[in-house]
């Protein structure tokens, strides 16, 4: 197992190099002109200014040279400088990644608890009114566009009844807690500041719920169908023949087997959300890398796009590895290593 993990870890840099190369080439192939993002419209006819800007950003070099510069910078952890913020992309991302991670973790926790819980009850009482309602709830969660459900909930719960605060991670002019993990909720607790914790949690609640609801939809349906399948398996009959009540058959037997597909879905969902929480971040003005990517794409900020791509890929590869490990743990029939 350890050898397997080591081998997978060694492979990650090579995979990343591939991802970086592809993302670099794609960015070079797009039609848009990054100059437009760098040079104000009215200075475009001034050849001196244009040349100076091109030289500054390496835009006047031939493609292979630009590629070489890009990769060698990358190897030193330098993701380039954002055209838009004029700051190193690595710094931008380091600042924004914890916000995304905090949101995604919270959403995953909510989505998993809700999804597994509803899936369990649905399977236990399948065909009942509850089952029907849970399925509708799951269907809505996974099919409603987030920009819609997010906006509606934001309007209802924040604007109309002021149950939750507005957008962002904290109220305006409130200082974030000292940086330890980058998660405001966790850092506030570490600093022993319960007020700040409550504020951070209140801000996190709605976006995490909206995103978590979407996640729970997928999970509810997966858990429900895996459990119902499990309950009709021979091993479930054996358990009943041993005298197990239905609740035990469901949890000790069907759920144990449902963990195998569940872990896979959780891993992929997590990796997907790192860059896929874009809409949620945009609506709730959440300063994560999703909104960074959107802005980067809109302004042809290649270094920013490339940086987010790399970070997203790292998240994806790591989540994939963790998923495989968890999968092997949940499924003794899988032999890893060899």
């Amino acid at each position: 197992m350890l050898a397997y993990i080591a081998r997978r870890l060694i492979a990650i840099p090579f995979l990343l190099l591939g991802v970086a190369s592809v993302s670099f080439l794609l960015s070079q192939m797009t039609k848009g002109d990054p100059l437009a993002a760098l040079v104000p419209e009215r200075m475009m006819d001034n050849p001196e200014i244009v040349a100076a800007v091109k030289a500054q950003w390496g835009l006047d070099q031939p493609l292979p040279v630009r590629y070489g510069i890009y990769i060698s910078n990358l190897l030193q952890g330098d993701l380039g400088t954002s055209f838009a913020t004029r700051r190193p992309v690595a710094v931008d991302i380091a600042e924004r990644l914890p916000a995304t991670l905090e949101l995604v973790f919270a959403a995953m926790i909510i989505g998993t608890i809700m999804g597994v819980g509803l899936g369990l009850l649905s399977a236990r009482f399948r065909g009942s009114v509850f089952d029907g309602l849970a399925r509708i709830f799951a269907l809505i969660g996974s099919s409603l566009p987030i920009f819609w459900s997010g906006l509606i909930l934001l309007y209802l719960l924040s604007v109309r009844v002021a149950l939750v605060p507005g957008t962002g991670r904290l109220p305006p002019r409130v200082e974030p807690p000292p940086d330890v993990t980058g998660f405001y909720t966790v850092d506030a607790l570490l600093a022993g500041d319960l007020d700040l914790f409550a504020q951070a949690l209140a801000h996190l609640a709605l976006p995490a719920l909206v995103l978590g609801w979407a996640v729970s939809g997928v999970i509810t349906r997966l858990v429900r169908s895996s459990l119902i399948e499990g309950l009709s398996q021979d091993y479930a009959r054996t358990a009943r023949a041993k005298g197990a009540p239905e609740r035990v058959v469901l949890i000790n037997h069907a759920l144990r087997n449902a963990l195998i597909p569940l872990l896979t879905i959780l891993g992929f969902t997590f990796a997907y959300l790192i860059t896929g929480a874009v809409l949620t971040e945009a609506i709730f003005a959440w300063p994560g890398i999703g909104s960074y990517a959107v802005r980067g794409a809109a302004s042809l900020d290649y270094p920013a796009i490339g940086g987010v791509t790399i970070v997203g890929s790292i998240a994806f590869l790591l989540a994939n590895l963790l998923t495989d490990i968890a999968y092997a743990w949940a499924n003794p029939r899988i032999k890893v290593g060899g």
Partner: protein, 328 residues
């Protein structure tokens, strides 16, 4: 004669299909088993053998409707509340299923599955003590290195070893009755005999009653005290083992006996022609008549009742009587 361990009378089961049609899978089955004896239940696929067993243990899906009587140690199981019958399942009645690979949970160690079987009926036994018991049971069914094997998962066992583990689990709470539903069908021919011997020896040693379900009369020949032959959801012939073989009365039983492979047989095996009917399209009259060489007009209209005949009982208008001759 002592009071029967299990006394099934007029057991009926019907299933509803998707279109709401109801069909009887069991049409009034009578079976009796004395304590410590072996009853062989024989019949082709679809004759209702499994349904009969699952019915009185209430292990059928909710689409099944069950009526009749099944008394186990005097207690009526039909209509018993779920919580009460759970205390009988796995405790006083152990089950062994056909395919031990699918019958075990693939992601749980065999030891843990046996521990569960024990602790479902007695919470006061610690996990550690239950594991010790699982090891003892593995030893009992001759699984080598029990302390190591209880920590393994089903896929790490060979088919034969897995079925031994299944027997061990069925024996976990010292049952009075074992139900083995085609316990060797999924196994290699070479290990089938070993498993049957083990099952026979253990139940004799422990004084457990056994219902052995099979479609192969040869399997029960050497083991069963009594035999019940099922066809089309009914018992068509039943009685002590020897008369079933040497004074066969029902043409269907005769066909099954002919189909038993023997060492000195030359030529191909003789199978009963045709296939058993589905429960949704059973012929009127005796349901065996379309395949029966002795069928006459009455067989197509009237279902024969199970009547006493010699040492046993038979449901046939024109029973066969093979001459009584003991084998040399």
């Amino acid at each position: 004669m002592s009071a029967p361990l299990l006394d099934i009378a007029d057991l009926r089961v019907s299933f509803r299909n998707d279109r709401g049609e109801e069909a009887e899978a069991l049409r009034g089955v009578d079976l009796t088993l004395e304590p410590g004896k072996v009853l062989g239940v024989v019949g082709e696929s679809g004759s209702g053998k499994s349904v009969a067993m699952m019915a009185f243990l209430q292990l059928l899906p909710p689409t099944a409707r069950i009526s009749g009587s099944a008394r186990f140690k005097g207690e009526q199981l039909v209509g018993m509340s779920p919580s009460k019958i759970r205390r009988i399942r796995g405790k006083a009645v152990g089950c062994i299923f056909q395919d031990p690979l699918s019958a075990f949970n693939p992601v749980i160690t065999l030891g843990d599955q046996i521990i569960e079987a024990i602790r479902l009926h007695d919470r006061s036994i610690t996990r550690r003590a239950a594991l010790k018991e699982a090891e003892r049971l593995f030893e009992l069914v001759a699984i080598p290195q029990p302390a190591r094997r209880v920590r393994q998962h089903p896929h790490e066992f060979s088919g034969g070893m897995r079925q031994r583990a299944m027997i061990a689990m069925a024996l976990a709470n010292s049952p009075d009755l074992l139900i083995a539903d085609e316990p060797t069908t999924a196994l290699d021919v070479t290990v089938q005999a070993q498993i049957l011997d083990l099952l026979g020896d253990l139940r004799k040693e422990l004084g457990i009653g056994l219902i052995l379900i099979t479609h192969d009369l040869g399997v029960v020949a050497g083991m069963a005290d009594d035999i019940a032959v099922m066809y089309g959801g009914r018992v068509v012939e039943t009685g002590p083992t020897d008369p079933i073989f040497y004074e066969t009365a029902h043409p269907y039983t005769a066909g099954l006996i002919d189909a038993v492979p023997t060492l000195d047989a030359d030529g191909p095996l003789r199978q009963i022609e045709g296939t058993p009917p589905s429960i949704f399209s059973r012929p009127p009259g005796c349901s065996f008549h379309p395949r029966c060489g002795r069928a006459q007009a009455i067989c197509m209209t009237e279902d024969p009742p199970l009547r006493r005949l010699g040492a046993g009982r038979c449901a046939c208008h024109f029973p066969v009587r093979t001459p009584q001759e003991a084998p040399a």
